[in-house]
Symmetry: C2
Subunit: 330 residues, 2 copies
DNA sequence: AATAAATATGAAACTGTTTTCATATTTATT
DNA sequence: AATAAATATGAAAACAGTTTCATATTTATT
């Protein structure tokens, strides 16, 4: 590996001048600049990032915390984040928090030791009070998750609206008995809380009273969806429609329903959340709430880089558009 | 952020001794070691990785090159790699090569500039001759992809066998007209070449002649699968079964077939590759070739770390088990 | 008791950059 | 023509560690 000194020697100039060329500083004559560029090319020179970091701080690396990368919603988010970051000259380090507080903390520590310039959190395991101190070491932005009193930029959706338009759609289709599957617990704060609120609001407006038996909490996977359907099948008074927190749960419900001879949407209407590719592959195709995942990833990177160059800029909330995609399952 | 000098000052010892404690070198007295440890804790000191790297130390970061993270096969692979790496104290940097030779090269450069200790490549865009020089800067292991003459560890499957058992299964079910969808071109080298070989071998053994019209090359996505089915529907002499290179293509084919009123597997049998969760969600559930993705990721990390500690150890080939999972689509 | 080996410690050099400071040269302004 | 400002350049310091080398002290061996 050649160093800046080699380039300096070959071009007959000082390290300082070479550094100026590398960093596009003014006050380097045309001829010398060309000399340096030529020498760099000849040696196949690349600046050593470790040395630059040691001096300047920037690592051009962003950390992304996701719960699980195999969840398509998050793999699409990481995809978008990685692409945007690459175009802006950043690398992406991933961490799957995996519902593990320790692991989340280990990862946040990378910020402290300047291994990453900033961190995009798409999930939060620890209390905000334990995360908050890390903001002293570099920007943290929240994407998809949010915390009311956190003083950091947040890229989010109007989750409440998402649930609202979904449930309203079911009501407009004539349903009165509407079940509900959510990720978190029913009265938590954050994203799930908002969705719950939207669900309640839509029902309330239509004068429908919630049947607590039809509310399923802490549901995530396809398998969870299947279990939910099994429970529904055993009920005397069954819901005629179900609003879910992800396309996967919806898929699980649909599969199990079909397994038992139910017709979707006639016997039971199903609505998903996310609009993953899966939604189009189910039979019947899934009505769902589209989350603009690409936009969210892109915005998160933009915001974090902006904060990197502008550390005084603090909290800002970016709300992305959310919409209903009507297909055949409702 | 406190530095090693601060720790030295506080403990009344030299930077050297502190460094020795950090790196667990011998020849530090018990008492002094304790002093240093105490001072480190008191200051909340963490060594600056940039400085360590500059001195030619390990970065405890592994790079992973995938074509696209949103492809479930690769997101599962990354999942397994990340988990294993974390347990061994490594971080994971991801790069989506995205069929972009430039991008792959940019990423390989991280090895040259010691931003990653080693790189796991799950896809190869450039010719091996351009990748090979990078092996001088740190270990590269090939996972899932492979190159015959490359002198690096490879974690692979017997792809030929995979295709062979799949096609043979179709023949045993009574099919003679078997179409074939592959990722690469038909006569390339690497993974696809092997599968092609398995396909040919199975047919040959059964005395079946390949109809070139039924061979579809360069197929990857769900959408591709749909297009393939459209082409098949227009044929006078249609295949009765199709072997595909991924569950997604299989899914696309199945969806399109059902759209046009065909019954799977009666009118057309379909077999996938990978055994992704999707395979169980399709209706009918998809017969497919299972790739042990978790094992592959785990092994890749193990091997690369072993190479890191043992640089002289060169090529080694690890072949993982592959098996047929019979469901309802055949 | 004399010598060799093992243990313990720190000063200084080194890693490859960027930044500061000093200084020389050129151009613009009065 | 004299002075100020802009342009151009390099030597040396700084970043935060690790490694080399020198040296002092203990312990083991003859």
């Amino acid at each position: 590996m050649s160093t800046i000194s080699d380039v300096a020697k070959l071009s007959g100039l000082s390290k300082t001048t070479v550094s100026r060329v590398i960093n596009n500083h003014p006050y380097v004559s045309k001829e010398n600049k060309e000399q340096v560029l030529k020498a760099m090319k000849e040696l196949g020179y690349t600046p050593n990032p470790a040395a630059r970091r040691l001096r300047g701080q920037l690592t051009t690396t962003l950390g992304v915390i996701v719960p699980r990368i195999v969840n398509p919603f998050f793999s699409y988010l990481v995809n978008s984040i990685e692409q945007t970051a690459y175009n802006k000259g950043y690398q992406v380090l991933i961490c799957q928090s995996n519902e593990d507080k320790e692991k989340e903390l280990t990862f946040l520590n990378l910020l402290k030791t300047k291994q990453v310039d900033g961190i995009i959190m798409t999930a939060i395991e620890n209390d905000w009070s334990v995360i908050e101190p890390f903001t002293n070491y570099g920007p943290i932005v929240l994407c998809n998750e949010y915390v009311n009193y956190a003083d950091v930029p947040m890229i989010r959706l109007n989750q409440s609206k998402g649930a609202y338009i979904g449930v309203k759609h079911l009501i407009e289709r004539g349903h009165q008995k509407i079940a509900y599957c959510t990720g978190g617990l029913f009265d938590e704060q954050g994203k799930d809380k908002d969705r719950n609120h939207g669900y309640q609001k839509a029902l309330q407006e239509a004068g429908i009273v919630i049947n607590p038996k039809w509310v399923f909490v802490n549901q995530h996977s396809i398998e969870d969806g299947k279990q939910v359907m099994k429970q529904i099948l055993e009920m005397e008074d069954r819901p005629t429609a179900v609003f879910t927190g992800s396309d996967e749960i919806a898929g699980g419900i649909m599969i199990e329903a079909k397994e038992h001879g139910l017709i979707v949407p006639d016997d039971i209407a199903i609505i998903g959340f996310d609009d993953q590719p899966l939604a189009e592959m189910l039979d019947p195709k899934l009505t769902t709430i589209r989350q603009p995942v690409d936009q969210m990833g892109e915005k998160s990177v933009e915001v974090i880089i902006k904060r990197l160059n502008n550390p005084e800029m603090k909290m800002e909330i970016y709300e992305m558009p959310i919409e209903l995609v009507v297909r055949k399952s409702t």
